[in-house]
């Protein structure tokens, strides 16, 4: 593979660099996939690869390996070349020196008038609160510096979190300070006052009094809040004819309908992953999306921590159309078109002997042989684990599938064991699509005099054939919009009212398991926003009442079934804890699954359209980062490389390599999708190995027009392809090349560790990703070091020079690759904790993203059907023999006595020698002034314990030295040792699966030492002798021997 190295003599004249770079994007499209396939066939051992560019030996990728930053990363943007820049720099050199001569300005100290207890300058406080998504809460602890919420952590006592979080909740603190949030009430686009609104509302409601509210409509998201439910109940008793509609672009009522049909009562299912031995995920990314995902990921990972002596783990099968984090950690992953999944479930049910399902329904086309064999093996495995098996079917699957899954659970004895059925969490659950359609019908019929839309954006995110915008525009009556942004829907309403962010709100909600959780504000509303409960109170003629009073009333009067009336002390305790302990919804023992419902489901599945192999299917899915688009204006989430694709700032049409070849399209070429209903949308193609053949997956949430400065006009909206009857895709679409080309910013090739270019045997020694099956691990627990790898690890302590003795503390980290799902929570947590800037799409495309922790994603094996997808979080290794330190001409990066590789920003002159010398490529350079030094709101978010870096400065992971110092100083003050687990890095604390372990290597009883003693522990690029403090625990998969071919 040595020929992969590009020739270094072809550098073009300096003046043309920029043009060259632009051209590179166009040339990179025509990848030779056939050559890549050949290349893979010649490889020995577990062949890992990062991207198709790498396999097809695109020169661009070779450069990414050779260089710390891509070739033109050091170029000035906007057409100024390096040469121009040097000229400018020389001219301004003399003047530049003078800037160092400024004296520090005199600063003010402003003390309190009366010092509140506990509030001391520099001392962060933590408050429990909850964030809701689709109405369902996750418990959080929010760090507050001087009254400013700066960082989100999970609430360790909360069952939905257990201390972990996800990327979206980590990023929500940036959403609070978003300057694009609407800042005032507006009437017909002009600034209005809350008073005018109240008067107009009161007048409109007075007219409704006589009508019993028959013209009053409310449209909200689904809610589990006891307070909101109570107020809506009161509103209904004042206006008995009023209607309450709900809309949620993420929710599908399929599962709930199915359970109602199968079990006779409306129920909700939640899963106990901790007691599941065999799990089948069907088109479901249950580890990183949906309510309860953080807890599910935690419980799932708790069954995969193998060590010598306890080498037992669960087994996960995943059948999915597009690779997800859940699919990437699965022991067996089957690429399956969405349309084939119902038939696969039917085959599974038949194998398990579910009554009412015939083995081979004559009217249904048979599954292909490989799928049938896979399903048979899964069925045998599931049946062998009665009471400990679980099937998780995705939200987007049709109701009939959920009926069969309920029947399978019954058959497997999973009901009441791994699957718990409970009463629905939501207050008055409805089918959101039907509910929205009813409202639209009433609007068209002119029955609506007064419509309040709160917290939803149907003009943007409802299926296009509902024509929400047109109906709203043509409808009569008052329309009020209440939301965080003056968004697409607000445009069609008379009034827009700013909503309070959850960090500004009092409220309550229930978690995935029903636990009643409290929402507590961390700050006064920045933009005079109000909560839904306050708006509802205004509608009840109680306009002056605060959200706190309304909340307190709910919890004082025993309005909720959750608790009796609470005293003030008990309520304070509730706020402190953030939840009402023991309020989880009890599991009910369901009736037996109705055989007629199963039979009906089976025939419904047989009647589903079965596209032929040549048909191209469309799958519409929520985006992994911005979901349905509600977080689109969050720069952290936009710049977050999406799991698996590693795309940032865009959505794309995801196609498998084979499908792309068949369609004759290359990556980044724009195609126009036309559905059978004639709906059209255009977007760039992204070729994604692991994608099922014949499926185009498009993520929702992009193409917004009124989201804010960050999100407007990026990507394309896939909602225009949605219809009410086919929300999650279409079985037959056509694509046509438009001839356009779009540069997509992916990070998959950036900061590539150079370990695969040598001959295969050497590559095995250098292997950065190490993996074995459970059987191999049992046979040879030392597999991560044996044979190809240096036995027992290399002895890198040999040196001519005496080593440094780390007395006191020696900080180290171990990352368990078997627990990592690649969910990205750590990346955003690091960004929030360490004041890491957002650089924008153009800069990401140049390889200048600033994330201190990145998640490298490797495909393994075949291009068309990768055998595995591995995620590896890479932080600074804090090498004891750090190559970066010796090359710094100004000693801006040096070693601390505790083994940290310190970075002194104020000393750094920006030579970038250190980054050039880092084999792990973890150093990030501020090529431009990325940090926003102007916007006042963003200043409030920053962590005051971390320096805000300026242009021309190198930065990198420090193991969160600010957290280390805080705890170490406090312990030193009390003359005690820092206890194990007292210091947690931001990434470690956010991780839902506890994959990251950190602590003192000199404390033999510490958790991190125990991890490092695990035989799976290995260092990256150990033979370089850098002695990294960050080590990795090799992956162990638990494949089914029946399927191991």
């Amino acid at each position: 593979m040595t020929e992969l190295a590009p020739s270094r003599t072809d550098s073009s004249p300096a003046g043309d660099c920029h043009a060259e770079w632009k051209k590179g994007g166009a040339e990179a499209t025509g990848l030779d996939l056939a050559a890549a396939r050949e290349k893979l066939a010649t490889r020995r051992g577990p062949a890992y690869w990062r991207s198709l560019e790498e396999l097809s030996e695109a020169p661009e990728f070779g450069e990414l390996l050779d260089r710390e930053f891509p070739r033109f990363a050091a170029e000035w943007p906007d057409g100024v070349s390096r040469r121009n820049f040097l000229q400018l720099a020389a001219a301004s050199l003399g003047l530049a020196g003078l800037t160092a001569c400024t004296r520090q300005p005199i600063e003010k100290i402003v003390p309190w008038l009366k010092q509140p207890e506990q509030v001391l300058p520099g001392k962060p406080l933590h408050f429990a609160t909850s964030m809701t998504l689709s109405g369902v809460a996750i418990g959080l602890l929010v760090e507050s510096h001087g009254g400013r919420p700066t960082k989100i952590e999970g609430n360790p006592d909360h069952p939905a979190s257990l201390g972990g979080t996800d990327a979206v909740s980590q990023a929500s603190v940036l959403g609070l300070y978003d300057p694009d949030r609407s800042q005032h009430a507006a009437r017909l686009g002009r600034i209005g006052s809350w008073n005018d609104f109240s008067n107009e509302l009161a007048a409109a409601l007075r007219a409704q009094d006589a009508l019993g509210g028959s013209g009053l409509r409310l449209l909200t998201g689904p809610t589990t809040s006891p307070t909101e439910a109570r107020l809506i109940g009161e509103l209904r008793s004042r206006f008995p004819q009023a209607q309450w509609h709900r809309w949620d672009p993420l929710a599908d009522a399929g599962r709930r309908h199915a359970l109602a049909a199968a079990l006779g009562v409306p129920l909700e299912a939640r899963f106990d992953l901790a007691s599941a031995d065999v799990i089948l995920a069907l088109e479901s990314d249950f580890l990183t999306s949906g309510p309860g995902a953080v807890r599910y990921a935690h419980d799932f990972a708790s069954r995969r921590r193998v060590a010598e002596g306890s080498a037992a783990m669960n087994r996960l099968y995943a059948a999915e159309s597009s690779p997800s984090p859940t699919g990437s950690v699965a022991d067996h992953r089957l690429r399956l078109r969405p349309s084939a999944i119902p038939r696969a479930v039917q085959a599974l049910a038949a194998h398990l002997g579910v009554a009412g399902v015939s083995a081979s329904p004559p009217e249904s086309p048979a599954l292909d042989e490989a799928t049938a064999r896979w399903i048979a093996a899964v069925a045998t495995d599931l049946a062998a684990h009665p009471g400990r098996a679980l099937v998780v079917a995705g939200e987007t699957l049709p109701a009939a599938v959920h009926v069969l899954v309920a029947a399978i659970h019954e058959k497997l004895g999973a009901s009441g064991a791994t699957v718990l059925y409970t009463a629905p969490l939501e207050a008055e659950p409805v089918d959101p699509l039907a509910s929205l359609a009813e409202l639209l019908a009433d609007l068209q019929a002119g029955k609506v005099d007064l419509l309040l839309i709160s917290g939803v954006n149907p003009v943007y995110d409802a299926p296009a054939d509902l024509e929400v915008a047109r109906i709203l525009r043509e409808s009569r009556g008052h329309r009020f919009h209440h939301g965080l942004y003056d968004d697409e829907t607000a445009e069609y309403c008379h009034w827009h009212l700013p909503a309070a962010h959850y960090l500004e709100s009092w409220g309550d909600a229930r978690a995935y398991d029903g636990t009643a959780s409290l929402v507590q504000p961390l700050i006064e509303p920045l933009y005079s926003g109000k909560t839904l409960s306050e708006i509802l109170a205004a509608m009840l003629g109680r306009g002056g009442e605060s959200a706190y009073d309304l909340l307190r009333e709910t919890w004082a009067s025993g309005h909720t079934a959750l608790s009796a009336a609470l005293s003030d002390d008990a309520f304070r305790k509730l706020l402190h804890d953030g939840l009402s302990a023991g309020s989880a919804t009890p599991a009910t023992v369901p009736a037996l699954v109705s055989v007629t419902a199963v039979a009906a489901a089976a025939s419904a599945i047989a009647a589903l359209p079965a596209p032929s192999e040549n048909d191209l299917e469309l799958a519409l899915r929520p985006d992994p980062s911005v979901l349905d688009g509600r977080f689109a204006n969050n720069g952290w989430l936009q710049e977050l490389p999406k799991p698996i694709t590693k795309l940032t700032w865009d959505n794309a049409v995801l196609l498998s390599p084979r499908t792309a070849e068949r369609l004759g399209v290359h990556g980044e070429q724009v195609v126009e999708i036309t559905t059978t209903e004639g709906r059209k949308a255009s977007g760039p193609v992204w070729i994604l190995p692991g994608q099922a053949d014949g499926v185009a997956t498009v993520h929702l949430g992009y193409g917004r027009t009124r989201a804010g400065k960050v999100a407007n006009e990026i990507g394309f909206s896939a909602y225009v392809l949605q219809t009410a009857s086919s929300r999650w895709g279409s079985t037959s679409i056509t694509v046509r090349k438009t001839g356009d080309q779009v540069k997509l910013a992916t990070t998959q090739g950036h900061h590539a560790i150079d370990w695969m270019r040598e001959e295969s045997e050497q590559a095995a020694v250098r292997a950065v990703v190490r993996q074995a099956s459970l059987a191999e691990y049992r046979a040879n627990p030392n597999f991560a070091h044996g044979e190809g790898h240096a036995a027992g690890g290399l002895d890198t302590s040999v040196s001519f020079h005496p080593g440094f003795e780390y007395k006191g503390y020696a900080w180290g980290m171990a990352i368990d690759l078997n627990s990592c799902t690649g969910c990205n929570a750590c990346v955003v947590a690091c960004q929030a904790e360490n004041n890491i800037p957002v650089v924008g799409k153009d800069q990401v495309a140049r390889g200048r993203e600033m994330h201190w922790i990145r998640i490298d994603r490797y495909f393994q094996g075949d291009i068309d059907a990768p055998a595995g997808i591995a995620s590896q979080p890479i932080v600074c290794m804090q090498c004891e023999q750090a190559p970066c330190e010796v090359v710094c001409p100004v000693a801006a990066t040096t070693h601390s006595t505790e083994g940290l590789n310190d970075m002194v920003y104020n000393r750094c002159v920006g030579t970038r020698y250190c980054a050039n010398n880092c084999p792990y490529k973890v150093r990030r350079f501020n090529f431009l002034l990325y940090q926003d030094w102007e916007t006042e709101q963003f200043k409030l978010q920053r962590n005051p314990d971390v320096t805000v870096r300026s242009r021309g400065v190198m930065e990198k992971c420090t193991y969160c030295v600010q957290r280390i110092n805080r705890v170490r100083l406090a312990a030193d003050r009390d003359q005690v040792q820092v206890a194990d687990g007292e210091i947690r890095t931001a990434c470690q604390q956010a991780c839902p699966t506890r994959a990251i372990h950190f602590g003192n290597l000199n404390d033999v009883s510490s958790d991190v030492v125990a991890m490092k003693k695990n035989s799976r522990n290995y260092s990256l690029l150990e033979e370089l002798g850098t002695r990294p403090r960050t080590t990795y625990l090799a992956m162990v998969k638990n494949p089914n021997p029946e399927l191991a071919a």
């Binding site: 520090q104 100290i109 402003v110 003390p111 309190w112 008038l113 001391l120 520099g122 310190d902 320096t947």
Partner: protein
């Protein structure tokens, strides 16, 4: 052709070499002095304050402990500036009509905090922690100078990195018993060096010169 330069030019040329060397050295010395002068470091410069608060009067004459006002010094990074309420604890009884104290009364009356000018100001990339220094037995006056003799507050030390490191390299010479850190009248014992070694051991005083000790 006549000589252009007279013979004395040789001497001038020789002298000018030394003159240039001297000027460069003098210029360097001047820059070095300037960088370490009170003008740049602000050492010894009195800043105007809303109220001419006298530490001399309150500390030395009345004998109020530093920690009565700077309450967070033993537990937090920042020692804390007292809230208006702390001033009024006494001044609602004493000097209740003094013109000098009008800003204090106005602050409480109008609900507006007093804006003091920061005297001891480290650059923003330095993370100093009062509590650990106090816990190790570094006295207030060691860094803040003879506060008890300052009718108006000024910066008592240069607060340059060199000055910080002088102590961080060898902290023992600046130690006191922990109980005496806020005592401005403390007299060192005769066998100071021997005692300091004992205190250093008792409070686990270490030389900390890693970059991340102060910068992060």
């Amino acid at each position: 052709m006549a000589q252009i330069f007279p013979k004395s030019a040789n001497a001038v040329a020789k002298a000018s070499i030394f003159a240039v060397l001297f000027l460069v050295a003098a210029g360097g010395f001047a820059l070095w002095r300037l960088a370490n002068s009170g003008y740049v470091t602000r050492q010894g410069i009195i800043l105007e304050q809303p109220v001419p608060f006298s530490h001399d009067h309150h500390v030395a004459q009345i004998g109020i402990d530093c920690r009565y006002c700077h309450t967070a010094v033993e537990s937090q990074a920042s020692a804390g500036i007292p809230p208006t309420q702390t001033c009024m604890n006494c001044h609602n009884q004493l000097w209740t009509n003094a013109a000098l104290l009008e800003p204090i009364r106005a602050s409480l009356r109008e609900g507006k905090p007093i804006q003091w000018n920061r005297v001891n100001d480290l650059p923003d990339f330095v993370y100093f922690n009062h509590s650990i220094h106090v816990a190790k037995g570094v006295a207030c006056t060691t860094c803040h100078g003879p506060v008890d003799k300052m009718p108006l507050m000024y910066q008592g030390a240069p607060l340059t990195m060199k000055w910080c490191l002088d102590c961080h390299r060898d902290p023992v010479k600046n130690l006191r018993p922990r109980s005496e850190v806020a005592n401005v009248f403390w007299q060192p014992p005769a066998d100071l060096a021997a005692q300091q070694a004992i205190w250093a051991k008792a409070h686990n005083v270490q030389s900390k010169v890693s970059c991340s000790t102060c910068h992060r």
